[in-house]
């Protein structure tokens, strides 16, 4: 191979590396599904108007038990129709909040979705093989899930954050379904 061809190869290589690095450097928040689209999907294309759950002292205390810190906020927005509720909640994995959409029906978690992931690691929790473990889980009397959730090595804090949010959504749903009477 002559020198000129080799030079062309090197120019192409550096262009390739440049193009490879550009998107890497610019990578930021990963939006897997917008909250709006999650709600549309949760209620088969027709989400109800939002409702508000005000946190009572007891509910705040239970939320603190689950999160291991106080819940940020005095009220929580939710969407409820026919005993099925949807929640968009956030919890910090390591440094940044993970936004998760959760659907609860008959005191069981139907499913959860990672909507926005902002951390630099632990994104594996968005995959179906992990989130499917939460399907049909319930809240025990001690506010833990009735089923063990297998972790993912290297994503321990994200797994912990998602588990906390699953418990929180089940706790909140219990509250609103009691009020709703469904």
């Amino acid at each position: 191979m002559d020198g000129r061809r080799e030079d062309t190869f090197m120019y192409r290589y550096f262009l390739f590396v440049f193009l490879l690095i550009c998107p890497i450097v610019m990578a930021g928040d990963e939006v897997y599904q917008s909250p709006k689209s999650f709600l549309i999907e949760a209620f088969s294309g027709d989400p109800p108007a939002p409702s508000m759950l005000w946190l009572t002292p007891k509910l705040k205390e239970d939320a603190r038990t689950i999160l291991a810190h106080a819940y940020i906020g005095l009220r929580v927005r939710y969407w409820l129709r026919g005993g099925r509720s949807a929640w968009v909640l956030e919890e910090i994995g390591k440094e940044k909040p993970i936004t998760v959409g959760l659907v609860v029906e008959a005191d069981r978690l139907e499913y959860l979705r990672v909507l926005v992931f902002r951390e630099s690691r632990g994104w594996e929790v968005r995959h179906g093989f992990f989130t499917e473990q939460f399907a049909r889980t319930r809240l025990d009397s001690d506010l833990s899930l009735d089923k063990d959730i297998d972790g993912i090595s290297g994503a321990t804090l994200s797994v912990r954050a998602l588990t906390k949010l699953a418990r929180l959504a089940l706790l909140f749903h219990r509250q609103v379904s009691n009020v709703d009477g469904s």
Binding site: A27, R75, E90
Partner: protein, 258 residues
């Protein structure tokens, strides 16, 4: 394998080895220098050395904070970096503050990618995000002639109900009083001391991020995996070339003896 075929293979391999060597050189230098330094973290006191180089600080998102202040009724909300003060009571906040309005006994503080409903003592009542239907980023918060709260973004305007629970898309109108920033002189010494103190990046963190490739973002470690693969290929092609050369030398020596 015929001699011609073998020569062609050797030529390809030599060429590949030379190119891989040039390509991998950058990564070898990067990994070896950062690796040696990280092996002596304690003796070099890397964790205690801070780098304040502005472009690097900007890249890590550590900008020199600027104070943004809004006044609503008797209350004032100040943002400096990721810290906010509601009537001098601190709370964490993210994104740029774009407006503050008083709504009854509460305050509405709009940031680029969410709205905080706050008490005047700085307690967060609710964090309203894109699940409300508002398209982010928000660039304005105002009150219309009917007293309703309006939010503006590049995608349009939304009007909130009395509880700020339901946000409805609405046509822009002229008679809206948009919240505007007020001057802030940093009279609260606690605010000024906490927020303006210079923060550097530990050298250890930079070297760790360089060594793992994380400095290049989410896919940086994959880039380093690619570099490792290149080095493995270099090792294999290097050994193969050396063995081939020795075989040729032996052949030449045998020919010269005979």
């Amino acid at each position: 394998m015929s001699t011609g075929h073998s020569h062609r293979w050797a030529s390809v391999l030599y060429s590949l080895h030379r190119r891989l060597g040039a390509i991998a050189a950058v990564f070898v230098l990067l990994l070896s220098v950062s690796g040696v330094a990280l092996n002596h973290t304690d003796s070099l006191a890397l964790a205690r050395k801070e780098i304040n180089w502005r472009p690097l600080m900007d890249y890590y998102g550590l900008h020199q904070p600027m104070a943004i202040s809004y006044t609503a009724g008797e209350s004032r909300v100040v943002q400096i970096g990721e810290g906010c003060w509601v009537n001098d009571i601190s709370l964490e906040c993210q994104g740029s503050l774009v407006g503050v309005l008083e709504v009854g006994v509460l305050l509405t503080a709009a940031f680029q990618d969410h709205i905080l409903l706050l008490t005047k003592r700085g307690e967060i009542v609710e964090r309203i995000g894109s699940e409300s239907g508002i398209s982010m980023p928000i660039d304005g918060l105002g009150r219309d002639a009917q007293g309703a709260i309006r939010v503006r973004s590049a995608a349009g305007e939304w009007v909130g109900d009395s509880e700020l629970l339901v946000w409805t898309p609405t046509a822009p109108v002229r008679a809206v009083h948009w919240s505007k920033p007020s001057s802030y002189t940093g009279e609260n010494p606690q605010t000024a001391t906490v927020s303006f103190s210079p923060v550097g990046l530990p050298l250890e963190r930079i070297l760790l991020d360089l060594h793992s490739g994380r400095i290049f973002g989410t896919y940086g470690p994959w880039l380093m995996d690619l570099a490792a693969l290149m080095m493995a290929l270099l090792a294999i092609s290097g050994v193969w070339i050396r063995l081939r050369q020795r075989r040729q030398q032996r052949r030449r020596r045998r020919r010269s003896v005979s």
